[in-house]
């Protein structure tokens, strides 16, 4: 399920079946030319990624809107805000909260996150229309799906 009217309507009626939230964590900045392309690309890929996972598991998973943060910003502040997203979800209750990201910076703060971090390494550049990328995403989605299911 996604953060759209149709889906939340369904969610309200089927709450007891939906216990998992996925929050994509996506860095954003305009300050470092050399990184722009890579970061924008990763942002695109992660959004597709998150949507694909949601599609496979949509009956039990709520995909939150992307969480964007300034790449150079204070991680501590972001942690507070992110955990307040978790806190809000936990009131429902959503028992499983997953953060997906390409940004390795979160690895350091994994313990402080209220939820499970899924850090996806690699993928620096590529062509979103290419078959290689599609099958790459497909494989990853499958693996991450398995991982999420192992929490159920």
């Amino acid at each position: 399920m996604q953060w759209i009217k149709e889906d939340v309507k369904q969610y309200i009626q089927a709450k007891e079946y939906v216990d998992t939230v996925i929050v994509p964590l996506i860095p954003y900045h305009l300050s470092k030319d050399s990184e722009l392309e890579k970061n924008a690309f990763q942002s695109e890929v992660l959004s597709i990624f998150a949507k694909e996972i949601e599609k496979e598991l949509s009956g039990r998973v709520m995909l939150s809107p992307n969480y964007y943060y300034l790449k150079s910003g204070s991680k501590e502040e972001e942690l507070n805000r992110i955990n307040s997203w978790s806190g809000d979800a936990r009131t429902q209750p959503f028992n499983n909260i997953f953060f997906v990201t390409f940004d390795s910076a979160w690895k350091k703060d994994e313990q402080a996150l209220d939820g499970t971090l899924i850090w996806l390494p690699g993928i620096q550049s590529g062509d979103l229309k290419s078959n290689e990328l599609h099958s790459f995403i497909h494989d990853q989605v499958e693996q991450i799906g398995e991982y999420i299911k192992s929490y159920w």
Binding site: Q10, A14, Y17, E56, G59
Partner: protein, 170 residues
């Protein structure tokens, strides 16, 4: 005095422009809404055509296999590629069956023999929904309807699939 005069005219100017923008936005909203209202048939056809899913009929066996393909979907706001999938096999009468993998409970994707405990069944990982090979839901599991069935045809030895319909309506 002259300043006051100028203020009035500026306000008027703003007023005019805002009305203009508002009118423009209203018109912009009306166009797709009108299209949706008068032209549902046209929209259907974009998704309703049967497409080649890249599977040769000779490769279809008694064992359900998952096929994935993409279609162009047009809605009021954008045109996009949408991924579709199906479970395809030949039944005992040698007819091709293409089932939608979307669980009728809350929409997760089911897999053939997705659970080792339940061989010969479709299994939904989300809440343990199960279906027989023909798509019939198994009572006592969450789904209350059989899996949807795709319209299908064979042309030049290739499988073509269209829209999925609830069983019995196809």
């Amino acid at each position: 005095m002259s300043e006051k005069k100028q203020q009035v005219s500026r306000r008027q100017f703003l007023n005019y422009t805002l009305t203009g923008v508002g009118g423009f936005m209203a018109a912009g909203m009306l166009v797709p809404m009108l299209r949706m209202a008068v032209d549902p048939v046209l929209q259907e056809s974009a998704a309703g055509d049967l497409v080649n899913v890249g599977l040769a009929v000779e490769d279809i066996t008694n064992e359900p296999q998952r096929v994935d393909w993409k279609i162009d979907q047009v809605d009021a706001w954008y045109e996009s590629k949408v991924g579709k999938s199906a479970w395809v096999y030949k039944n005992d009468n040698d007819e091709i069956v293409a089932l939608s993998p979307i669980c009728k409970h809350l929409g997760c994707v089911v897999s053939w023999e997705g659970s080792e405990q339940f061989p010969d069944q479709f299994y939904c990982p989300c809440h343990g929904g199960r279906y027989h090979k023909d798509g019939q839901n198994i009572p006592g599991t969450p789904p209350t309807a059989p899996l949807d069935v795709y319209e299908s045809k064979v042309e030049n030895g290739m499988l073509y699939l269209g829209m999925a319909h609830p069983r019995g309506e196809a």
